[in-house]
Amino acid sequence: MDLQLSVVKGAKVLMVGAGGIGCELLKTLALSGFQDIHIIDMDTIEVSNLNRQFLFRQSHVGQSKSKVARDAVLKFRPHVSIKSYHANVKDPEFNVEFFKQFNVVLNGLDNLDARRHVNRLCLAANVPLVESGTTGFLGQVTVHVKGRTECYECQPKPAPKTYPVCTITSTPSKFVHCIVWAKDLLFAKLFGDKNQENDLNIRSSDGASSSENVVDVFERREGEDIDDYGRRIFDHVFGYNIELALSNEETWKNRNKPKPIYSKDVLSDELAQQNGNVVQDSATDDGLSVSAMSSLGMKNPQDIWSLSENSRIFFESLRLFFMKRGKEIGNLSFDKDDQLAVEFVTAAANIRAASFGIPLHSLFEAKGIAGNIVHAVATTNAIIAGLIVIEAIKVLKNDIKSYRMTYCLEHPTRKMLLMPVEPFEPNESCYVCSETPLLLEINTHRSKLKDFVERIVKAKLGMNLPIIMQGSNLLFEAGDDLDEDMIANYEANLEKVLAELPSPVTSGTMLTVEDLLQEFTCNINIKHREEFDEEKEPDGMLLSGWTQPVSASEKEKEDKSINNGANSSDVTVEAVEDETGVVAVGVKKRRISETSEVAANAAADETNHKQYQVIDDEDDLVVLDGNSDAGNKRKRMQ
């Protein structure tokens, strides 16, 4: 106990995240006697945080999480030194030198991207990392000590769920498909950046209308009455486009045919007229408080609306966007906290669902799916925070034999609700912690350096500020402090195919990719390959030498895919947009006799209780990857 006290008192700790886990963790650290705590969080406080982030009050909404958390803890432990940073952990000030000052780093993060970033900095700075995540009643804590245990990236993380474009545009079979259509296609088309590529009409343009005409359909014509415009859009996307799709008989051989829905079918003229009259004009409305539900007198977000109610919300929300928030049109992107946007997307998704015979959902449910909202409760976060502190103390005592990964389960397995597992040794072929070279098969005559940077360096390797070198020749460099000549030079390089770069990249070349901030370097051997399977290798290149993230929808992948949230050209892993510090990393099926069924059962149970599909979609949620580590022998420590 004395040793414990002295290591705790002498430790300098970095906490990343002051959300759900962060609040609990900061409290438990302070109570446990930690004296020197630094805490980073870029977020501000929102109302939906208050049910579990107990250091925050209604009056703090809008303020910095890290600062308010610090002040709240100082009230009951005034002598603890807490330094708060209202900043992104990926900012350059938090470099390897910064990380080196700490004895241990504790993560309470909500996205894969930041977790990978912190993992690399901890490896570079040689500082132990205790990683954590929760979702609902599930959670886990893992320990990552360089050279001793696996790093956060030794095991592939589940990739965000993506959907084939044609499932979204033509053949939805689940409500989530309708949500993705409503949010990423229709909403984006009507209210977002007009220059963005959009697949909304991908199928109908195969048919009679030319693509020029199609674009026109969505533009509000000069002087067009807003209600006429709404009906025109409605009839086009829910009526005409469905008719067009039906004309392709082949598609419907083994599927239920959708039913076209026209505005005249769902609204009497009278009703349609009424819509406009219900709303009182009030000049003081601020943007985010405008609501179609309140102007139509609908209160309960848990209600499932009828087709006609959904149609009224559709028209009303469209109308309100043009009348009250006209200035934003063209710049809007979907935000789960934007009530009107959620209303529009819910209504549009439901009308589409009705057309395809898919059960309708309430606004509450639709919001959860569209916003990728993570389920969160205070108790799990408190438990996980307690486990983090226990693990942090072991790390500080260098008590290697006692390190554990701990899973918090909803249903007991082998009588356990909290299940400790010995950590694994580092994965010898991990490109992050063992510096094993990767192999990239690519068509060096067709792929541009730009493709390599976007699809491999950023999307797959998770680098933010990359430098790309061939031997000692610089091919590309990102950063703010470059002079104009260099920028021009790199811009030119980006547009060149690999084989035609100033120092050509061909089969057998080794590229070195480095992230200066992460102080992380990785070598990639290039192998030229002529052809790629469009379905299986949509990137047109194949990275190997390290286990690929398992995508739940690998089988479904077609020519191109859309993921729920990020637009289709952005392949980078999508951060869960929730403000919480709570995202569970997979309760993975471990190849350990004792625990293999355990986690599987836990996760399987979860699946059964799930109300909706989207839980699979979050970047690092509980996902069963039963087979993924089959070819991947993992050794337990000791």
């Binding site: 409290k27 049910n51 107990f54 009951f76 848990q302 205070a378 438990i383 307690g386 007991p412 909290l418």
Partner: protein
């Protein structure tokens, strides 16, 4: 479900947890009345969890005045003598908890647990007691059981880096969803006295050692007339002797109760904050389950020891009960 809808304010505040347990459960929570007796770090954690979750009311009982020890793992009390002087632990915690969630009524009742009558317990749906003697636990449990309605009864104690929860839900029925079908389940709980009277020999060999160790300490404190937690390393020989006697009376091997574990429990009786968070979290979860009728409740003991990191459930009841 019962006609009353959650308000807009409730829906906004509880959004993330409604996504976990549903609107029905949230409505039931908002009508539940919870009593806690004996407030140290673990109960402070529990109170935080249950107030955040949005129960109808929380009533606090603990007439002890604040001192250094009581503050050690309690984040609800500012360590400022000017603030805490002259106030009881319950009053101080109440002042702090009121701010956590304006939709929960938090209040204080004065008195000693043994003096509260059956009618008093009748006001609550959940009773959680801590820092109590064996006799006081049994008595309170009996009073709750005598009521016609079910009062979910819990005891909780943490020492060193260990914690124990006991649960009595009497006759508990709940529905369990498995895939598409909903099954009606029923669990019969023994009262505390019956549970701790189950012969040790009848328990499976792998039963958590903490269970036995806690019973030894409990008996020791009772026999010596100590207040709960009032033991020190000087008592170790006495505790070990009692252990021998109990093991031989129960005809079990002495290895059932390791000396090293007893030594830890008598040497350091203060709570370890991470364990408070863990036990307070599990207890919060169990109380939410019992109120909402969702999820398998714990039957009927839970143990956590930071030394091995296991959080284990034990069913300690007469095999035929």
């Amino acid at each position: 479900m019962d006609g009353e809808e959650l308000t807009e304010q409730e829906t906004a505040l509880y959004d993330r947890q409604i996504r976990v347990w549903g609107a029905d459960a949230q409505r039931r929570l908002s009508k539940a009345h919870v009593l806690v007796y004996g407030i140290k770090g673990t109960i402070a954690e529990f109170c935080k969890n249950i107030v955040l979750a949005g129960v109808g009311s929380l009533t606090l009982v603990d007439d002890r005045v604040a001192n250094e020890e009581a503050l050690s793992s309690n984040f609800l009390i500012p360590p400022d003598e000017n603030v805490y002087r002259g106030k009881t632990l319950a009053e101080l915690c109440c002042d702090s908890l009121i701010d956590f969630n304006p939709m929960v009524r938090v209040s204080v009742v004065k008195g000693d647990l043994s003096d509260f009558g059956i009618d008093f317990f009748n006001k609550f749906d959940v009773v959680v007691i801590s820092c109590c003697s064996l006799a006081a636990k049994k008595l309170a449990n009996d009073k709750c059981r005598k009521l016609s309605k079910r009062v979910s009864f819990y005891t909780v104690d943490c020492r060193d880096s260990c914690g124990e929860i006991f649960v009595d839900l009497k006759d508990y029925r709940y529905s369990k969803k498995k895939l598409e079908e909903t099954n009606e389940c029923q669990l019969q709980y023994p009262c505390f006295e019956d549970a701790v009277s189950v012969p040790w020999k009848a328990l499976p060999r792998k039963t958590s050692k903490l269970y036995f160790a806690m019973r030894v300490i409990e008996k020791f404190e009772e026999a010596e007339g100590r207040s709960p937690g009032e033991v020190s390393v000087a008592d170790l020989p006495g505790v070990l002797k009692l252990k021998e006697e109990l093991c031989s009376a129960q005809s079990v091997n002495e290895s059932h109760v390791p000396d090293s574990l007893l030594e830890r429990l008598v040497t350091n009786t203060t709570e370890f904050p991470p364990v408070c968070a863990i036990i307070g979290g599990i207890l919060g979860q169990e109380v939410i389950k019992a109120i909402s009728g969702k999820g398998d409740p714990l039957k009927n003991f839970f143990f956590f020891d930071a030394m091995d990191g296991k959080g284990v459930m034990e069913d300690i009841s007469e095999p035929n009960a």
